[in-house]
């Protein structure tokens, strides 16, 4: 069954097609959820909500633009929505931090799990901004609109996020070294 056929079948609420669609995309979308969420359980909740929204709104998908992009957008929206309703945007000091290039040395031995873990440990808004900007290529302008913040805040949040991540990675590496010694 082609993807288009699958989408058409999903539009008429065909359970089998929905299951098929889920199988095709769940892993990819779950990775997004993991990045945007605080932990695994929350990511699963988000994925669930995202798919419910997808199935409900799939009839609105007019096959222009990539379907995967559409799915990703909905998933990201769902993840953001979760923070809107939960109301846990932390208050951060908005003063600008210089957007210096933070560099990392010798990243090879850092595991993906650890990187994911430190992303999830970021304060909520730092995490969202970092993901939107770095992982999903949104501009500061987009992010500002999506999160109802100013572009300045977005930039400063990103810088803060980078700083925290860098610190943690450096910390991690020194620990690794001390272990190996």
């Amino acid at each position: 069954m082609s993807l288009n056929q699958l989408i058409e079948n999903c539009k008429i609420n065909d359970t089998k097609a929905q299951s098929e669609l889920y199988k095709l995309f769940s892993s990819k979308l779950f990775s997004i959820c993991l990045k945007y969420s605080r932990n695994y359980a929350e990511a699963e909740d988000n994925l669930q909500d995202a798919f419910v929204t997808i199935f409900k709104k799939i009839e609105q998908y007019k096959s222009k633009g990539s379907f995967e992009g559409w799915l990703k957008r909905i998933t990201i929206n769902t993840a953001l929505q979760c923070y809107r309703t939960q109301g846990v945007f932390d208050i951060v000091n908005d003063h600008l931090i210089e957007d210096v290039a933070i560099t990392i040395e010798d990243e090879d031995n850092i595991s993906l799990d650890y990187l994911l873990k430190i992303i999830q440990e970021l304060p909520d808004r730092y995490r969202l901004v970092f993901n939107l900007y770095v992982m999903d290529g949104y501009s500061h302008q987009d992010i500002a609109e999506m999160l109802k913040i100013t572009t300045g805040t977005s930039k400063s949040n990103l810088a803060r996020a980078r700083q925290i991540l860098k610190d943690k990675i450096t910390d991690y590496k020194t620990r690794l070294k001390s272990q190996s010694l």
Binding site: T15, F55, L80, R84, G87, F89, M135
Partner: protein, 578 residues
């Protein structure tokens, strides 16, 4: 190897092919969620709309039709409420009549009493403190109503009795909105109470939303509107019957306004980040319940918000992140939805004009003459706007030519300047070129002998009334079958603006204009009903065939006998959607 790398690159590369398999209970969770709410909200709204619109169309038709019949039957002394009222005003108070009216008003007030007490019971469930107020208010209300009735009884004034009946009716009618109104009171007061608790979080909300002004304004509105409600209830009690109706109406209006506020409030409440507050959740629930009944929206919070997104109005009041995100998408979707809403339709039709009753629009003497409608033409352009995929409102302009013949008429020229026989009161004659006046007689009014003696056959003519109108229809079209071949039900009304009017005589196909009717109203109306058949060539172009019946109202100011004109037209044409 210590290669320096930007931290962004590190993450981008690491997560480039990152995929993770969710546990199986996610899918089962999705299935569970999908099974319940998906079908319901999609279907409820259109169904409700369908019935409502059909009902509205029917009510419209009946009221117009009824009005028309009553107007025509005025001469037959058919009694309706307004008539008796007027008659009684002129004559001395009719005791039996007043009695019935009073008893009726008593009855209706009793029923309204019941509904009132019902509503107060309803309140009891909602909120006790408010109930006490409401109860006393509604009791008070009833008492004033009773007082009014009593005073009216003693006065036995007919006119007021009638108006009282009206009041009772409206109270009765209003009773269910009242319920909502009271609910509103409850919910708004809850909101008010909530305001204090949510003030803290409001500051957070303010931080988060740049357009916070809107949301805070809608919150501020609430206590005001609650006060308004109270005010109107109180003044309600004070005022007398006539004012009462007006006020309850206002109340009604206000309830809808506050309902709007409430619905706005939902969104603003949910934008306030306040999940620790259980009260707030409660209000959202109750608000939901209310707006469910009022706006007939969907059940769950999320769906409400989705709908909100669709509404441009609420876009201002609720500034949610999700909304901002979806804005671009939704705009696209909206544009696509709107693409097919408008359509233009050009049509032409053979129209047949005749009358239901036996009568003449010209003169009494022609009542028994044979008369026949003629087939003429109508053509015009319509514009349609689709409310949804089944309902369409349309309007336009049509040019309509009508003619109606009265046969067996004798036309002769008077030599004297003053017409000898009684002139036809409904026709203004134009003098002929040689300064002679024209008189018209029904050949039926002459005995056969006279005809033989006096009249040549060729003087036995027909009198033809030619009318042309500009017609502005306003019609609702409901698609029963909406496939390639479609079937529609059409209901509505038309406004006719008189553009031309002449009376011609036809003798041996010689037509001469003899004057024009003076009893044709410049503005008249019709109630329309029809069945539309259409065939869609493609998405944009459609062929229509619409046999339509139009019952004319207020077409003539004075007619003889029972002259009730109607128009039957088979409107054919093409419509183009864009």
């Amino acid at each position: 190897m210590s290669e320096k790398k930007h931290i962004d690159r590190l993450f981008q590369e690491k997560f480039k092919d990152f995929e993770a398999k969710p546990s199986s209970n996610v899918w089962s969770g999705i299935q569970n969620k999908m099974e319940q709410p998906l079908q319901k909200p999609k279907k409820v709204l259109p169904l409700w709309l369908r019935f409502a619109s059909i009902a509205a169309a029917l009510v419209l038709l009946f009221t117009i039709g009824n009005l028309a019949f009553n107007n025509n039957d005025k001469e037959n002394n058919n009694i309706n409420v307004v008539d008796t009222n007027l008659e009684n005003k002129n004559t001395t108070p009719n005791t039996s009549n007043t009695k019935t009216i009073n008893s009726v008003s008593n009855n209706t007030i009793n029923t309204s009493e019941k509904t009132n007490s019902k509503s107060s019971e309803y309140n009891l469930l909602e909120n006790k403190s408010v109930v006490i107020d409401d109860k006393s208010k509604s009791k008070h209300n009833i008492q004033t109503n009773k007082d009014n009735v009593n005073s009216l009884n003693s006065k036995a004034l007919n006119t007021e009795g009638v108006s009282n009946q009206n009041t009772a009716n409206t109270i009765n009618y209003v009773a269910s909105p009242n319920k909502k109104n009271f609910n509103n009171l409850v919910s708004t007061s809850i909101n008010k109470a909530d305001l204090n608790t949510s003030k803290d979080s409001q500051s957070i909300a303010q931080r988060n939303s740049t357009d916070k002004k809107d949301s805070s304004v809608s919150i501020n509105l609430n206590p005001n509107s609650a006060i308004n409600n109270n005010n109107s209830v109180v003044t309600n009690n004070k005022n007398s019957t006539n004012n009462n109706t007006r006020l309850t109406n206002e109340n009604n209006l206000e309830s809808t306004i506050t309902n709007n506020n409430v619905t706005k409030n939902i969104s603003s409440n949910s934008t306030i980040n306040n999940d620790d507050n259980p009260n707030n959740k409660n209000t959202i629930d109750t608000n939901n319940a209310i707006s469910n009944t009022v706006v007939a929206t969907t059940n769950s919070d999320k769906e409400k918000e989705e709908e909100k997104k669709m509404e441009p109005d609420s876009a201002n009041s609720s500034n949610t992140i999700e909304e901002a995100l979806a804005k671009i998408e939704d705009l696209d979707e909206k544009e696509e939805e709107n693409v097919d809403r408008w359509s233009v339709n050009a049509n032409a039709a053979p129209v047949y004009y005749n009358t239901l009753g036996k009568g003449s629009h010209i003169h009494d003497q022609f009542i028994d003459n044979t008369k026949n409608g003629e087939i003429n033409t109508s053509y015009g352009v319509n514009v349609g706007y689709a409310l949804n995929n089944r309902l369409r409102v349309r309007s336009g302009v049509n040019k309509l030519n009508l003619s109606y013949d009265t046969a067996n008429v004798i036309v002769y020229e008077n030599v004297t300047n003053t017409p000898s026989s009684t002139p036809l009161r409904n026709i203004d004659f134009v003098p002929t070129s040689n300064g002679q006046n024209i008189s018209v007689l029904s050949s039926n009014s002459l005995s056969i002998q006279q005809i033989d003696n006096f009249i040549n056959d060729d003087l036995n003519a027909a009198l033809s009334q030619r009318i042309s109108y500009f017609e502005v229809p306003l019609e609702l079209e409901y698609a029963v079958v909406n496939k390639r071949f479609g079937v529609n039900l059409i209901g509505g009304f038309s406004t006719f603006i008189l553009s031309n009017n002449e009376v011609v005589t036809e003798v041996d196909n010689r037509k001469t204009k003899i004057g024009e009717a003076n009893n044709i109203n410049n503005l008249s109306f019709s109630a329309n009903a029809g069945i539309g058949l259409d065939y869609k060539f493609n998405k944009a172009i459609k062929f229509n065939l619409e046999p339509t019946f139009k019952y004319q109202i207020n077409a003539y100011s004075e007619t003889s006998g029972n002259f009730r004109p109607y128009i039957i037209g088979v409107y054919t044409g093409f419509s183009y959607k864009f």
